[in-house]
């Protein structure tokens, strides 16, 4: 049997749960990116007001 079709493997995680985790982690990372974008603009604004 070719190695890539071996049936001896650990139980795969539940597919629906995996999809949920994929969606959640993608959204979290997008929020972090947005926070850096707006955070730096805000920081420059605040510095300008001083």
């Amino acid at each position: 049997m070719p190695a890539h079709t071996s049936t001896v493997h650990a139980a795969p995680p539940d597919e629906a749960e995996r999809r949920r985790r994929v969606r959640r982690s993608a959204l979290l990372l997008a929020l972090i990116a947005a926070a850096f974008y707006f955070g730096f603009i805000l920081m420059t604004l605040v510095r300008g007001w001083k």
Partner: protein
Amino acid sequence: MAEPLAPAASHDHDHKPYGWRRWVYATNHKDIGTMYLVFACTMFFIGGFMAMLIRLELFKPGLQFLDPQFFNSMTTLHALIMIFGAVMPAWTGLANWMIPMQIGAPDMALPRLNNFSFWILPFAFTLLLSSLFVPGGAPAGGWTMYPPLVLQTGASFPILIFSIHLMGASSILGAINVIVTIVNMRAPGMTLLRMPLFVWTWLITAYLLIAVMPVLAGAVTMLLTDHFFGTTFFTAAGGGDPVMFQHIFWFFGHPEVYILILPAFGIVSEVIPTFSRKPLFGYEAMVYAVASIAFLSFIVWAHHMFTVGMPLAAQLFFMLSTMLIAVPTGVKVFNWTATMWKGSLSFEPPMLFALAFLFLFTIGGFSGLMLAIVPADYQYQDTYFVVAHFHYVLVPGAVFGIMAGVYYWLPKWTGRMYDLKLATWHFWLSAIFVNVLFFPQHFLGLAGMPRRIPDYAVQFTDWNMVSSIGAFGFGLAQLLFPYIVWKCARSGERVGKKAWEGAHGLEWELPSPPPYHSWITPPSDAVIARGAAH
């Protein structure tokens, strides 16, 4: 060496779309990886052509061929195209091809987002290149886009800003996809410390991208509002601070350097053990070293701006934190060397490129240490020494890393071996001419030749001629590369699943070429353990 002739074990029952739909609507990680790599190669030649024009103008003192404004546009576009159009997409292409196969996943976690991330890029760069044809010419203020100079750009200014936003969006979406894939899609049993180094370096690179690409986007958004909407973020006349832009830019810019080089560390960590026929020395130390380098990259940005002026304590901090990067980098260089120690070495093209990377990237690292020393930096700032330094990091560093990766995995992708003799020629011509091109620039810089000028004093003539000859040789040698790839795909000798006898990793458990949909059934724990032979 290549495994002896074996049938291409490609039982292709795959239902893949054909014609243009396969590429425009692509969601398969291998197709998207191929598109990224073809795009990066195209941009490499466009950016390279601009470099040839720059070196042609600098062959002799005086103005020969280019108008000074156009010369400045060439330096600006060359940098933007090589960084955002060639090196970064090449890494993303390699990530797309290899990460799912290396972690036992059937595809990237977000395939449609993957398609979108790629297709943003051709629009971004068509837009950027179209700026060559607008009144006032293409942007010419340098890739660093410092205000107030960049605010004097003509009609191409909004084109520049919009294309940077598009490139940033593409990178961020690609990085999200990489992280989500590695975190959620690993085969059961593929623990973090069993992952190949290439996957590790990309995971860390993706976190860097998420953190710093939005910062660049924020900076250029503020430039846009300063130019068109009357804000004065960076305009001194309105109470703004142009130096603030430099701080923000380099907070992005220094980690960006590591975004360009960390995946090369991963490739070299795959190639050297394969051709030394030994496991990688100090796998865990390598992972921690890469993570340390990534962390340190966030706290060294102001070493790019010592001459701008800053308190002594800040100068000391940024100087010492920069020097600290030499420690994890040294760990990596010594570990690669230790991997080769008493190994059964052979010198196929991927290994040659990896070895050249090891020597020449280290030269770039040492000149970086020289630049980190504040009083020395006052002398070197804005000279050709800086140009020599970062080109040693990015050409025999990042570009040679990409070449090593492509020559390493090309037999896997195509199921065919490329012309090893021609690829060895490609290596030697590249390795010789890259030094002829960039090494004299150290001398020019130390002698005081400023960067970003189309003309220079006559005492700099000789080394500029040598450097230009090196550039033309290097440029011509690169024409071999697409020919080698094309010839391999058309008529290379067929290889088995393990193209290199010393190779380990899940990708080598798949047939060559791999099926269109690989690892639909996750690999077994035994297969994973066999692959993770570090």
